[in-house]
Amino acid sequence: MEFTDEQVQRYSRHIILPEVGGKGQKKLLASKVFLVGAGGLGCPVGYYLTAAGVGTIGIVDNDEVELSNLQRQIAHGTDRLGMPKVESAKKTFQNLNPDVNIIALRGRLTKDNILDIINDYDVVVDGSDNFPTRYLVNDACVMLKKPLVSGAILRFEGQVTTVLPGEGHCYRCLFEAPPPPGLVPSCQEAGVLGVLPGVIGALQATEVLKILLGKGQPLKNSLLIYNALSVSFRKVKVPRNPDCPICGAHPTITALQDYDQGYCQLGG
C-alpha cells in the first residue's frame, strides 16, 4: 500500500521515528488487536491504538454506559448514557481515525465463543473487570499462542503484564487460580482513582505497539506494579512455572472453563 497525503500527515510523528518509520506504520495499519472490555482500561487502550492507526480493533463488552463510568471511561460521554459501551467506543474511535476498522461485539466471552472470536487477531488486550474473564482470556490465549497484554486496577494501584505463550510466563504462572468470589474487592466496592486506568491503559497500549512493531522488550516474565500515591513503578520478576496448569510441561487444563459467575460483574 501507499500512504495517502492525509496518512503521511496523520502518522508523520511515527514515520519520523527510526523504530517505526513508514514500514512500521504499514505494519500497524495491517494489524488486528482485540480488546476485552470497553471500560476503564479498554477506553484508553482503544483510544491510543486507534490514534496509532492499528488497522482493525475488535472490542467486546456486555454493558451499557452509566453515569458512574464517566469518571474514568474516557471514550464514552454524557450523551451516551444507556448506549452499549461497544457502540459508544466505536463512535468515538471512528471519529478519531477513519482508517481504523472497529468491530463492536456486544456480549460476553465464554468458553464456547472465545476461541473463534480472538483467533483472527494478532494481540489480545485484557481490560476486563472480573476474574472469570481474566482466566478464560489467559487460557484461550495460551491455547492459541496469542500474545496477551493484561492490565488490572484498583484504588490507587495498577498492574500490567505481557503474556507471550511459549516464550514467557502466563497469568496462571503468576496466580494459578482465581481467588474465591468476594476475596478481592471490585472497583465498585473499593473505588478507583479515575486517572489510574489511563496510566495502566497507556502502558498496555505501548506494549501492544511494541509487540506489533517487534521493537523493545515486552513485559515478558515480569509484572509491572504502579502505585499512584507513592509514585512508584516496581517491576517484579515472574518466572515461568514449569508446573503451570495451562502452559506448563504437563498441563492439567486441557479445555476452557467458565468459572462460576459469583463475582461482581459491575464496575471496571
Binding site: F3, V8, S12, I16, G21, G22
Partner: protein
Amino acid sequence: MREEEIKPDKKIDIRGLVCPYTFVKAKLAIEDMEIGQVLEILVDYPEAIKNIPKSMQDHGQTVLEISKKDDRNWVILVRKEKE
C-alpha cells in the same frame, strides 16, 4: 565529489512541502531503497535545506551534497547506509 559524478537511483520533488513533511517524504522514499543507493531530493523550503540533512545524518544516512539550483530550489543528495 562533483555533481556529475553522482548518479541518483531515485529522485523526489517535494517542492511546496514544509517541515516536517519534507523529511517524512524523504524518509519514506529512502526506506524503499537499497543500501548504497542515492536519493536526490528537490526542495524549495528554506528550513528543509538544514533539517533534511541533519535528520538524515541522525538516522545514519550520508549526505553527499547540498547544492543550490537557482534562487528558490535546492538539491540534496543522500546515500542510504542503513535500514
